[in-house]
Symmetry: C2
Subunit: 269 residues, 2 copies
């Protein structure tokens, strides 16, 4: 079982990602795909007169401020537009894909944060109407039911809170929890960069391998959204996934490249 997370940033080529999945599935591999949609959500939010607001935590992690309206837009883009078009791409390639959000069958579940700390103009504020949380539980029964019947799950946030509310969660960290829960050997995290860069955005400064013990140091190199990918990698390895690879989703054969170690490979030893 391979778990692939593909981001939602500009430049990502979903056709190439789906080409690889089709080849893998035809070879008898079981694949679970988790996808993002941040860039498209920013666009649609702005078009709908609700431009995105990004919260930055005191530790420097960023997240989307997600009130009720934003969660609706988020669901529209992730679970509606992006998910349908990715499933369509896979179906056209002969893969019997099935799209699910984390709300469906309580696939991705966890507590909603009662409040979120954010730094605005140098001051800490407490945001209380934010529908965000963290995945702690995965409905592996549902995934095994579908994969066992020959379906390829295509998953996106939102997730579901313990109280049954739709919540925004970080896709990379959700993928890490899922990969661990399902017992995947490998988690591949594709985005619009070739991997973790020592000097962002200089792509020649790619870090080819990181050991688990070096991950905290690696966090120092990580810029913006890459911080959560490093955190996700750390959580996946702690959850017995053997290898996490950060790789490039703008080029041909993105998943096969990652499987061959092209990108940043993160292992225990």
């Amino acid at each position: 079982m391979i778990v692939v997370k593909v981001g939602g940033s500009a430049g990502i080529n979903y056709d190439l990602v789906c080409d690889d999945i089709a080849e893998l599935v035809k070879d008898g591999q079981q694949v679970i795909l988790i996808h993002g949609g941040s860039d498209e959500t920013n666009k649609v939010s702005t078009q709908l007169g609700k431009p995105p607001r990004i919260l930055t935590s005191p530790q420097g992690y960023t997240s989307r401020y997600t009130d009720t309206d934003t969660l609706d837009i988020f669901s529209m883009v992730y679970a509606g537009k992006m998910n349908t078009r990715i499933v369509e791409r896979l179906q056209k390639r002969g893969v019997n894909a099935i799209g699910l959000s984390g709300v469906d069958g309580r696939l991705l579940e966890g507590p909603r944060k009662s409040s979120v700390r954010a730094v605005v103009d140098g001051k800490q504020i407490l945001v209380r109407d934010d529908f965000t949380g963290k995945v702690e539980k995965v409905n592996t029964g549902l995934l095994n039911l579908l994969v066992g019947a020959g379906y390829t799950p295509v998953i996106s946030p939102p997730a579901i809170s313990t109280d049954g509310e739709a919540i925004n969660v970080d896709g990379d960290r959700a993928a890490a929890v899922l990969a661990s829960a399902i017992g995947a050997q490998q988690l591949i995290i594709l985005s619009n960069v070739p991997g973790l860069l020592r000097n962002f955005p200089d792509e020649s400064s790619l870090i080819p391998t990181i050991r688990y013990a070096e991950l905290e140091q690696a966090l120092g190199f990580a810029e913006g959204r890459m911080k959560k990918k490093v955190l996700g990698a750390s959580e996946a390895l702690a959850g017995n996934v053997q290898e996490v690879v950060f790789a490039d989703a703008r080029v041909a054969r993105p998943i096969f490249n990652a499987m061959q170690g092209k990108g940043t490979v993160i292992r225990h030893h």
Copy 2:
């Protein structure tokens, strides 16, 4: 097995519909819900600068002109926003709902129309870039897999074409094909009117019962979107569904009312 279709017109109360489904599921009934989203799609389309265009066929049937951009908006509202919020409502009520579009696992499949005939200013035109079609095949294996495992499917268009394209299909007729394929005894079609009205919009002119043989005559009373509901009822009965009920989704206990014959009941004899 009961198949419930709830429309997407203004005034429909999804909380009340979900209350009934929760009660039915707790009583051990198996329910499949199919929902619409037309009113919300009109609003979002307009907000996104792509106001809806309705095509009217020479026979007087209406459908949404669905080019690629419109299909994206359609998927956003139906499979994204509406579906997620209905699944959330059911999950909050203790029902393990799972949202699916017709693209997922090729759940609702049929041919895309190569062109659509429409009447504009009294003249017939041929529309060729329309992604619409008709459901002819239902993945009952997937539905039985999920229902058998205790999930309650919540389904919306788009469907998938024979060539693997996402297509807009009429929800009422899709529900009829689904009810027939799954062997449902009863199909309940809820909307924002109490049933078929002899003199639309006079609600006191409700027609309480229609026999199969009288359906063609009943088409004459049907206004706008009600025409396709009558067509769907006809197709469901032809496909061995024993009873179709048109009922009101604006009032308390909408499904129980329909099950007790409140609305327009359509039967073979």
